[in-house]
């Protein structure tokens, strides 16, 4: 007896099993990470021919590389000989890739270049066979420098997949006076012992900070308002205090917008005036002047009025334009997830802006963060709690009866406390997992009861 996977998601609730069942996790890797557009990296990480960045699509190791012609490729990080991982360092520059096992060598675009002892192979062995290569991921496309790849040879275009979320990616780039951004400032890597879906499900959760982050909120509230030392501590303290905003704030001033394919963003949250004392600040005034010199007053006003907090592109990307943060979710096992976080430099902006980005990253995405550590604890506790097999269905119904339709095929909450973004991701989950044919598609997985 098999069960239709769409049965795991019901209006306003989800079955606990999709967070704990290893068989469902394997299906997710195939049907979601093996089909959707997955964020791989940014073009600034591979500026020159030979530059590479080793990462993963789902659990599959791949290499983002700029080949000899300047084309950005994503190739499988697997030697065609005995299957060894070829590129073991995270980033660098190489004229070619050589496997450390028997020396098979590959062009930057993944084609086989040289095979030691080639005369020993059968006569029909063809080193030009496209399947004897570090094989290319079939579809690779950039949107304004953000590189996505899809393992599905056919499917919707990247722009169609992103839909209205292109405007969030635009916001990352439009804030740079020179119109370009680049990855800089190192990487934070953190891990937790729970399901990958929980990460994006938390990033637009406006109802948790006042509770989960209470220890850092109360500690930060004891600090005075004035600028101290070089100001980096202020950015952290402001952020921690902001987490303590009362429910009335989240219900009146902040919104949550969701779009097809599981994407969403939290908006109208931190305007620059709240976080960096923007208009009084000489660095920010200098920044605005530089922006206006390049883009004109009207365009700058438009850019700065885009007030988005976290934007989530399902299933593996979350970013935040006001402090140029980007996080990539790597599923490792049903109960193990790794997240890498990156910073972007706004080209042409005052140097202090990037220092603020670094300070914000330390406070919010850092391994020693006073904030993130409590989020990671929540994920771990969810995994442990679900293991008790108490309540079978998990509630994700807050705001269900007051959500409204939105332009661009979207749906938004009455206010930011709606869990509409979780329901929206679960709708996408059902669509991917059933290939849009929920009624016909059955699997060996069934609801336990």
């Amino acid at each position: 007896m098999t069960d239709d996977l769409s049965r795991f998601v019901q209006p306003g609730r989800v079955h606990r099993q999709i967070y704990t069942d290893p068989a469902i996790f394997e299906l997710e890797l195939e049907r979601i990470f093996g089909a959707a557009w997955i964020y791989v990296g940014h073009e600034s990480q591979v500026k020159n021919p030979g530059d590479y960045f080793a990462t993963r699509i789902g659990r599959k190791p791949v290499v983002l590389v700029r080949d000899a012609d300047g084309t950005v490729r994503v190739i499988h990080n697997q030697c065609a000989h005995r299957g060894s991982l070829v590129v073991a360092t995270e980033a660098g520059n190489a004229p070619e890739f050589t496997c450390c096992y028997h020396g098979w060598t590959y062009h930057l675009d993944g084609r086989l270049k040289a095979v030691p002892l080639q005369h020993g192979y059968p006569r029909d062995f063809d080193p030009r066979n496209p399947n004897t290569a570090m094989m290319q991921v079939p579809r690779v496309t950039s949107y304004r420098g953000f590189v996505f790849a899809s393992e599905a040879p056919e499917g919707p275009s990247l722009e169609s997949f992103l839909g209205h979320m292109t405007t969030s990616l635009d916001d990352m780039v439009d804030r740079a006076p020179d119109g370009e951004i680049e990855v800089a400032g190192g990487t934070f890597r953190h891990a937790y012992d729970a399901n990958w879906k929980l990460y994006l499900e938390n990033l637009c959760d406006a109802a948790h900070p006042i509770f989960t982050h209470r220890s850092s909120i109360e500690a930060a509230q004891q600090q005075p308002d004035d600028v101290f030392s070089d100001g980096s501590g202020e950015i952290a303290i402001r952020q921690m205090r902001q987490n303590g905003a009362p429910y009335s704030f989240w219900e009146s001033q902040v919104g949550i917008w969701t779009y097809p394919n599981g994407h969403s963003y939290l908006g109208d949250y931190h305007d620059d005036a709240k976080l960096v004392a923007a208009l009084k600040d000489p660095v920010f005034r200098d920044y605005i002047a530089k922006l206006e010199a390049r883009k004109g007053k009207k365009e700058v006003q438009r850019v700065l009025e885009v007030r988005r907090w976290n934007s989530n592109v399902y299933p593996n990307l979350s970013f935040m334009s006001q402090f140029q943060q980007l996080r990539v979710v790597h599923p490792v096992a049903v109960d193990r997830t790794v997240v890498h976080t990156y910073n972007f430099r706004l080209k042409g902006a005052p140097e202090q802006m990037f220092r603020n980005t670094i300070s914000f990253a330390n406070a919010v995405n850092g391994t020693g963060s006073l904030v993130l550590t409590d989020d990671l604890e929540i994920y771990n506790r969810i995994a442990m709690g679900l293991g008790s097999e108490g309540a079978e269905w998990i509630e994700v119904g807050r705001g269900f009866e007051s959500d409204v339709s939105e332009a661009h095929g979207g749906r938004r909450g009455k206010n930011s406390t709606s869990e509409v973004y979780i329901r929206n991701m679960l709708d996408a989950w059902v669509a991917y997992m059933t290939d849009g044919h929920a009624k016909d598609r059955t699997t060996g997985v069934r609801i336990a009861s």
Binding site: A184, G185, G186, T187, F188, T212, R214, S215, S216, E218, A219, A220, Q222, Q223, V227, F228, S229, D230, G231, S232, G233, E234, I235, A236, I237, M240, V276, A277, D281, P282, V283, F284, N343, Q352, F354, R355, N356, I358, S359, A361, N362, N365, G366, T367, G368, L370, T373, D374, L376, E377, I378, R381
Partner: protein, 123 residues
Amino acid sequence: MAKTSKTKSKAARPARQRTPATAGRAARRVQRKPLDVATCETFLLHEARLLDDARFDDWLALFQPDAWYWVPSEPGQADPFETVSLIYDDRRLMETRVRRLASPRMYSQEPRSRTSPWRQSTR
């Protein structure tokens, strides 16, 4: 956000910013006299004992108001401005970190981390 004047003065004195957190009275003594290994040892043992005993307010009192506590994220990291750090706390963030440790709602520290297997947290 730093005021411009602050930023400039920092840029002019990067070496000072890079100095890891140093202790109050001990640091002042060090400036006057040549480095004395025994004094340093005594101080470090004292600091370690305060941490082992979870006497974090007393530990905090070892630091001057302009102290920084810096844990770089990369080996050989040149500075805390261009690259993220595991910890880059000015004195107020150090205070905030210590005050958070006193909170009964610090969920990621249940049970509390210890720096010594022998000594019990006093909190």
